[in-house]
Symmetry: C2
Subunit: 585 residues, 2 copies
């Protein structure tokens, strides 16, 4: 060992001890005849002192230390005259007797400080230096601690972690697969799993009863802001359960994490909301409930007063922003621009302010008399100082989604999206199907193995679009952190579902025959859930991006700029794999 203590553990009680420390030079300061060095390792920072009066050679040597040099020192723990209460080691310093420079360092391309001067690109290129910043390292320590707690919890509940293979075949999950050419089977390819969905269902057929895996998953999608081509899933499946059993286990898991990781006790059951209500009242299947601003539908109140935009709409609805009557015209114009952006697609925004005297002042006063506006006010239980924001449109669902974006933006501006506050929610009763304009048919909303609610089974033939599934999502602070479903274990019901999805028997057999075949040998009722680990950690860490809780993330082009991957293959490798690159100009 190059040390007998870490840089985070010495305290006032250790004074007088001779110790050996090793670590990186965080910074050096000269003061009078002394040199002070902050020595850093994963565990903390300890101040070293070199005294010119005691040993001028040693002090001169210390004077040549650069940032990020790796050194080892022997010295005596002493009480500081100038204590630093912000640091756990702030009461002591080390009077250095021996200095051993283990490795020098080039000047890093950005400062290794929480508040670094390095931009995103350079920090990603030198990710190994970025990871030295304690704010980045702490995210990965948090991730480790969360994963340890998750495993402990699930192990205590009789779940077995089973590793499923990475080199598998294409599965019908919807997204594009990454593939791997097989040298031993020329012309053939493995696919990397988009999730272990089929394998975990097979493990239920095998009688594993309770399975989990912290599993790497892969999707070759065009990367949006917060997606990675490889991501990690807490993948779970249980047998002989109903939806309620699964919600119970994973709500308990979430509470366990909040308690053991963040020290937050959540004694109340998580709120539950049907998908239908979530869409109706929040315009989103993952509403952020840290704040209220529930939608109020205004067709009854606002229609038929001669304002043609409203009169021709299929939906009129609004939100009430508490205390936002102070918004200036300019701020409201900016909100209007916000909802009109092509990504959102709103037509515009109508506002109504509740004045100090209780009267309502709106942007469309000429169409609405005070009577109507007072009804509007009452519908929101608005009080003086509140700002009502109204949107409308031809398609209720689309308008709700636009209104949801507005709701989130206003909440952001009002500081209501507080990262230290956590609001958990189960969204349940998802529809079985959603209509795809693109494919011109009903598509499975979750996946084709999802079981319908027993009471809705009769509707499968008459009104499939109204059938609800035993599918559920866990939402925290407006982010979907997990989702799952009860699976179908009855082969005739499965055949019906395939028929409604428009598969012929042959197509169903070809696409899903393998799993269907396994089900013929005695499949138990089963269901499960998968959490997105990256998202869960980033919420716990209060991060804006999942990237910051991944050690070596990829950029939006799927590149690892540090490793410079992907890269070209040499001809020999291509020949061995019996493939050719065929890039169209």
């Amino acid at each position: 060992m190059y040390r007998n203590h870490t840089c985070g553990e010495l305290r006032i009680a250790d004074c007088g001890k001779e110790v050996v420390l090793a670590g990186w030079v965080q910074r050096t300061r000269k003061m009078g005849g002394m040199i002070f060095v902050d020595l850093r390792d994963r565990y903390g920072i300890t101040q070293l002192v070199f005294d010119d009066n005691t040993d001028s050679d040693l002090c001169a040597q210390a004077g040549r230390l650069g940032r990020e040099f790796v050194i080892q020192v022997i010295g005596v723990v002493s009480e500081r005259s100038n204590k630093n209460p912000k640091m756990p080691t702030g009461d002591i310093e080390i009077m250095v007797k021996t200095l051993n420079i283990i490795n020098s360092a080039l000047t890093p391309p950005f400062t290794i400080e929480d508040d670094s001067d390095g931009g995103d690109d350079i920090r990603m290129k030198y990710r190994y230096l970025d990871l030295r910043r304690s704010c980045v390292r702490r995210n990965l320590e948090l991730r480790h601690n969360m994963v340890m707690e998750i495993r402990k919890f699930l192990d205590n509940r009789s779940f077995i972690e089973v590793e499923t293979p990475i080199l598998i075949n294409s599965t019908p999950e919807g997204a594009r697969d990454f593939v791997v050419p097989s040298r031993m089977n020329p012309g053939q390819f493995y696919a990397l799993p988009q999730s272990p969905q089929i394998l975990k269902q097979l493990l239920m057929v095998s009688g594993f009863d309770r399975y989990f895996q912290i599993a790497k998953c892969f999707r070759d999608e065009d990367l949006r802001a917060d997606r990675q081509p490889e991501f990690t899933q807490i993948d779970c499946e249980m047998s002989f359960v109903e939806q309620e059993d699964i919600l119970e286990v994973f709500e308990a898991l979430a509470k366990h994490l909040f308690k053991n990781i963040l020290g937050i006790e959540m004694n109340e059951p998580f709120m539950r909301m049907t998908w239908h209500d979530a869409m109706k009242y929040y315009g989103s299947d993952k509403p952020d409930l840290r704040f209220d601003m529930r939608f109020v539908e205004l067709m009854d109140i606002m229609k038929g007063h001669g304002f043609s935009v409203f009169d021709s709409s299929a939906y009129i609805g609004g939100i009430c922003a508490k205390g936002a009557a102070v918004y200036t015209r300019k701020q409201i114009d900016q909100l209007t621009e916000y909802v009109k952006r092509p990504q959102i697609g709103g037509k515009g925004l109508v506002y109504a302010r509740v004045e100090a005297d209780g009267s309502v002042k709106s942007s469309v006063d000429k169409f609405f008399n005070q009577d109507v506006l007072q009804k509007l006010k009452a519908a929101f239980c608005a009080v003086p100082g509140d700002l009502i924001l109204i949107m409308c449109g031809d398609d209720a669902m689309k308008t709700r989604k636009q209104l949801s974006e507005l709701r989130l933006e206003v909440a952001r501006q009002l500081g209501l999206r507080d990262k230290s506050k956590f609001k958990c929610l189960w969204v349940v009763d998802f529809p079985m199907y959603e209509w795809s304009d693109e494919e011109n048919r009903l598509m499975a909303m979750h996946h084709p193995f999802t079981s319908p609610k027993t009471e809705d089974v009769p509707l499968l033939d008459t009104d499939p679009a109204s059938v609800r599934a035993n599918a559920y999502d866990m939402v925290i602070n407006g982010i979907e952190v997990g989702g799952g479903s009860i699976r179908i274990h009855d082969s005739s019901l499965q055949a019906t579902i395939f028929r409604i999805l428009g598969f012929t028997q042959e197509e169903a057999q070809q696409k899903f025959g393998f799993l269907m075949n396994a089900f013929k040998y005695g499949a138990p009722p089963h269901g499960g859930l998968a959490f997105g680990l990256d998202r869960l950690v980033s919420i716990f860490a209060g991060l804006d991006s999942i990237r910051d809780c991944i050690a070596f993330p990829k950029n939006n082009s799927g590149r690892d700029v540090m490793l410079d991957a992907p890269g070209p293959l040499d001809q020999l490798q291509l020949e061995e794999l019996q493939i050719k690159v065929d890039v169209k100009g």
Copy 2:
């Protein structure tokens, strides 16, 4: 929940309780007016009783149950008249009141019993049924338990688990990479990691101090008996350590596992042996020390007596098989055939029996008088009843390896390779380099970042082949379960090593420049170790193959016969990836 108890938990104290159980029908037996059903789940087997006198309809229904049907029953726990002390639930049975058939089952293609009638191929094809066999499931439960204990141990010792990416670039590890074409970066490929070696070294540069990961690794090699294209490694790295620190931590980990998983206390330190001694005395860098049979070199005693085979040999050595003098001529002939097989390549075998009267009878008596044979006997401390087996050859190292195969075979025949006995060993002081006839140059024995022993550094220029590395393997029962090394953290030493390996500066820069560059920013001394998890589990489980502790293994052609992977890609996918299949006829 479809049950309120599992099939493994009811005991005599539960008698009189009404319970709900669910599981699979293991077997049914009719006796008198009763039907007995063994109901199975992951947790055990519980006997169900259907009584024709009580409810003949129910009994008739039970009579139609087939093997592997999934059922739910409600019944009352009763004391058995005919107790089965071999089963934890053997004191009770369930008098069934209600039977609910959840799913029927086709007759499985092999019996779901520990002693199944299914061959390897059919069991692999229907792996989801094979996994129902408790002997197979227990291996995966053991694997889960071991991995939980490993994580607990390492977490307690301040190791952080960090997930490193799967989509990386080619690394210089020696074996062939699996590659993944990048759709977003046409003509470019990711490589799957052969190990996280470079990434874990970067994490040390980042100051993570103690890293581990239960990591999937990939090697596109022609598969020998006990290799898988994807396998799992317990990958570890530590900073500011010397070899001794690493051996201490991982010896403690192994002892922790033996104690907590198998209940075996190992209080003595593991034996240590230099690579040189391992080769000299056992002809193997992973000697099985569950038994002795150490080699004795016989050049002094056996050379120069006119037996030309010996007289012309560069090496003569033998082993003493205790009590094997009873071997018949036929048995010894079979051993001779064994060492002459092309995989072993021995020239032949000379034997010498120690008779009851102490005299020695050898297969080459005409060349050696009793005097010489008595010296031979003394060299082995052989006693009446022992059998001495001698091999010779032109190349000492090759002959030792042949003799090692003989030693293992004889031990097997004598029942000395007892799977319930565990003998752990550190093999240390591996050579830095080994000569490659193929490449006609010295190659790194471990990898090119391995640090030489400080005292051997002066030999780097004069006699590189004699330089010993700070490299070590953990061997259990003749199987290498883990290996690692202290890495070089000094760039000038690293440059020397590259030079000796025959790399020009440019080549070194091209192949390893990325890591070398990272090292310029302050690299700590570091080193690590990786265990093969599959092997470790299979040793603990007493298995002959790692396959049996992998949920979904691949066969020797790298195929998953259950999933039928790999498979062809459709043209659209190939076009999106901008590659072409180019199979040579």
